[in-house]
């Protein structure tokens, strides 16, 4: 029986600023709507490779893949509540996480 794998997105933290980043088409983004979604192991590995390349260039740290489900609108949503929290910000200070803005670099 074939292994069912979840779609995945790539998480990292910005080395200089510490903010949560996702790997998007042309670089790192904050908005999950712009995150690249890997639908199989091979593309997941590819995401990881790209992330690790930027880790080696001292752009990001703590690079890892996280399982997501993809809604009808195509927006990925992490399966685990920890990664959901990373995208949503502190639940007790909703005022602190406005619309995600793109990283400056």
């Amino acid at each position: 029986m074939a292994q069912a794998t979840h779609p995945q997105i790539l998480f990292a933290s910005d080395l200089r600023r510490g903010e949560t980043l996702l790997l998007g088409e042309s670089g790192w983004v904050r908005d999950p709507r712009r995150a690249l979604v890997a639908r199989d192991a091979a593309s997941g590995a590819d995401l990881l490779r790209r992330g690790e390349a930027d880790l080696a260039k001292n752009r990001v740290v703590d690079v890892y893949l996280a399982d997501v489900e993809v809604g009808e609108d195509g927006v990925p949503s992490p399966l685990h509540y920890r990664e959901k929290r990373r995208l949503a910000g502190p639940s007790v200070r909703p005022d602190l996480f406005a619309d995600p803005e793109e990283p400056s670099r």
Partner: protein
């Protein structure tokens, strides 16, 4: 030296209430800032890998958390001047998001600093004799103490000189900066232990020996976390002149023999547990006997020099009974409640110790906005010789307030939301930041605290319940000290959901005990009901004057377990 000298620190308006840096202390923190600035540069340039940079980042208090970096600023033995508090407010506004979080080790955490700005933050701290040195990392951490130090009636000796003495000794220690794991020391100088010394790696209690000589009861191997332990006494009386040599002996034994194979078994409490207290005592005494005492020959002089900074402020001599205070209590019921709950006896007639609660009903425990920090600084200047304390229950203390001034103080606090009259009551909850902030967490903790707080909002009900410490940790690392809460709550993950284990019977004082589990974990929604059931059971069974913990000790854990189950709470199997 004059104001143009770079080593001059302008303190014209500050009373001498705590340790003051001399040029060496100042040079040291400035060197540290320069060193860290260079380490950041090397990290960004790739000369240091993240793995290599991390311990040095941590030894300057900088963590990488869920959403951002987090900077843990040291507040040595919990003492802050108003100037320092204002600087923290400025940093919050300039480099963070306008607030800070006071912790269970008397430190302050900023939740949103950037790595590239942290050297500037550290420089801003150094200007007011503050730092973030060794607030993380596998080294000796902030030496904590009693928030009522110097002013409590039950005090044998002010523990702060000892804490400062140890702070300097432990700063950039060449031999003990790469320990198996973190190392926490607490010092208490009173009959009542308000510093939780029994759950620290080393707990020191100042005691009097023969002929009135001062010394220390030394306990080792206390700690919370995955495997909580109460510390074991190695020496009931260690003469003061032997303090540094003895601590060095303990640290050397730990550095050499502490486990390094398993991060969760690396604290000294595990070494004590696995070797046995007797063997650890033998190893420590053997090492202590071999240590050359010559380097410590001038410790007594240095200790006296440090001690001189902790002299009492220039107290006036008001009468023991304040008519102003009594009249205000008669006139204002809310103030009367505050005076009854948040004000403690001072060793000097006519003065009082005020606890400012950072636990507003439904609020985030331990958080203070920059505006509130400035208000606290102003209050300290107006009413308290410019001194503040941070407690390890995440509150602020104004340790020298004239009883005559209490009402005026309360009004100022009330204006900025800092007058919650719940010190030590059920809504004075300790909570770690939990999964809302912390990368280590397994569940959120703050919303649990908020829900319980709202459930018990009624001040009358709180006072009827009396002293009850609820402590919440968002993971097994127990930064919320849940093990020693009369009611402890531990947030875990169960089947993809946040799940909360409740314990009862913890105690952080000299009657230290670790809480016992009630049963399977419950959901976040169920927690306030569970707490309410436990409280109602306690109220129905207590004898006059019994606190929650007393009733639990008298009746036994089984009765409380029954009571919880009888109320029909469905727990998820753990």
């Amino acid at each position: 030296m004059n104001v143009h000298d770079p080593q001059f620190v302008d303190r014209r308006n500050e009373p001498a209430i705590s340790y003051r840096y001399d040029q060496h202390d100042l040079a040291f923190v400035r060197s540290r800032v320069a060193e860290f600035r260079e380490q950041v540069r090397r990290r960004l340039a790739g000369a240091l890998t993240e793995e290599e940079f991390r311990p040095f980042r941590l030894m300057n208090g900088l963590y990488l958390q869920l959403h951002a970096y987090m900077l843990r600023v040291a507040i040595p033995y919990g003492v802050l001047t108003s100037r320092q508090m204002r600087r923290l407010a400025d940093i919050a506004d300039r480099y963070d998001r306008g607030y800070g979080h006071f912790t269970t080790r008397q430190n302050l955490q900023f939740n949103w600093p950037k790595l590239v700005e942290t050297p500037d933050i550290l420089e801003a701290l150094a200007e007011v004799e503050m730092h973030a040195i060794q607030t993380s990392g596998n080294c000796v951490r902030n030496v904590t103490s009693d928030q009522f130090a110097g002013v409590a009636p039950d005090e044998i000796e002010d523990p702060r000189p000892t804490a400062e003495f140890l702070r300097q000794w432990s700063s950039l220690h060449p031999e003990f900066s790469f320990l198996p794991r973190k190392f926490k020391i607490a010092v208490s100088g009173a009959a009542n232990d308000r510093a939780a010394t029994r759950v620290h790696d080393i707990g020191l209690r100042i005691v009097e020996g023969e002929g009135g000589a001062r010394g220390y009861e030394v306990a080792v191997g206390g700690g919370l976390g995955r495997t909580p332990f109460i510390g074991k006494v190695l020496r009931p009386f260690l003469p003061r002149e032997d303090l540094l040599a003895y601590i060095e002996a303990i640290l050397r034994v730990y550095n050499r023999f502490g486990r390094r194979d398993n991060k969760f078994k690396a604290r000294i409490k595990i070494l004590v547990h696995e070797l046995g207290a007797e063997e650890v005592i033998r190893l420590v005494e053997e090492e202590f006997a071999a240590i050359d005492r010559e380097p410590f020959a001038y410790d007594a002089e240095e200790f006296a020099r440090i001690e001189s900074f902790f002299a009492s402020p220039p107290y006036e001599a008001p009468p023991a009974r304040s008519e102003t205070l009594e009249a205000a209590k008669q006139a204002d019921a809310a103030f009367a409640t505050f005076a009854a709950v948040n004000v403690a006896r001072h060793k000097v007639d006519g003065y009082a110790i005020v606890t400012v609660s950072l636990k507003p009903i439904g609020g985030i425990p331990g958080d203070a906005s920059s505006a509130q920090m400035r208000a606290l600084a102003d209050a300290a200047d107006a009413f308290g010789f410019g001194e503040l304390r941070v407690t390890h229950t995440q509150n602020i203390v104004l340790p020298h307030v004239k009883q005559d001034d209490l009402f005026a103080l309360w009004r100022k606090l009330d204006a900025v939301g800092l007058a919650t009259a719940n010190a030590g009551l059920i809504t004075d909850i300790i909570s770690c930041p939990g999964l809302d902030y912390c990368a280590l967490a397994t569940a959120r903790s703050i919303p649990i605290a908020q829900a319980i707080s709202k459930r018990f909002a009624s001040i009358e009900r709180q006072r009827a319940i009396g002293e009850l410490g609820i402590k919440i940790s968002g993971c097994i690392n127990a930064c919320g000290h849940h093990h020693v809460g009369a009611i402890g709550i531990l947030g875990l993950e169960k089947k993809g959901q946040e799940s909360y284990q409740i314990t009862i019977g913890g105690d952080p004082t000299l009657e230290a005990s670790i809480g016992e589990a009630l049963g399977p974990g419950v959901t976040a929604e169920e927690v306030p009901d569970v707490i309410e059931n436990l409280v109602d059971f306690y109220l129905s069974r207590r004898i006059e004057g019994e606190r929650f913990i007393d009733t639990w000790r008298r009746l036994g854990h089984a009765r409380f377990k029954e009571a919880w189950r009888k109320e029909g709470v469905d727990g998820v199997d753990i």
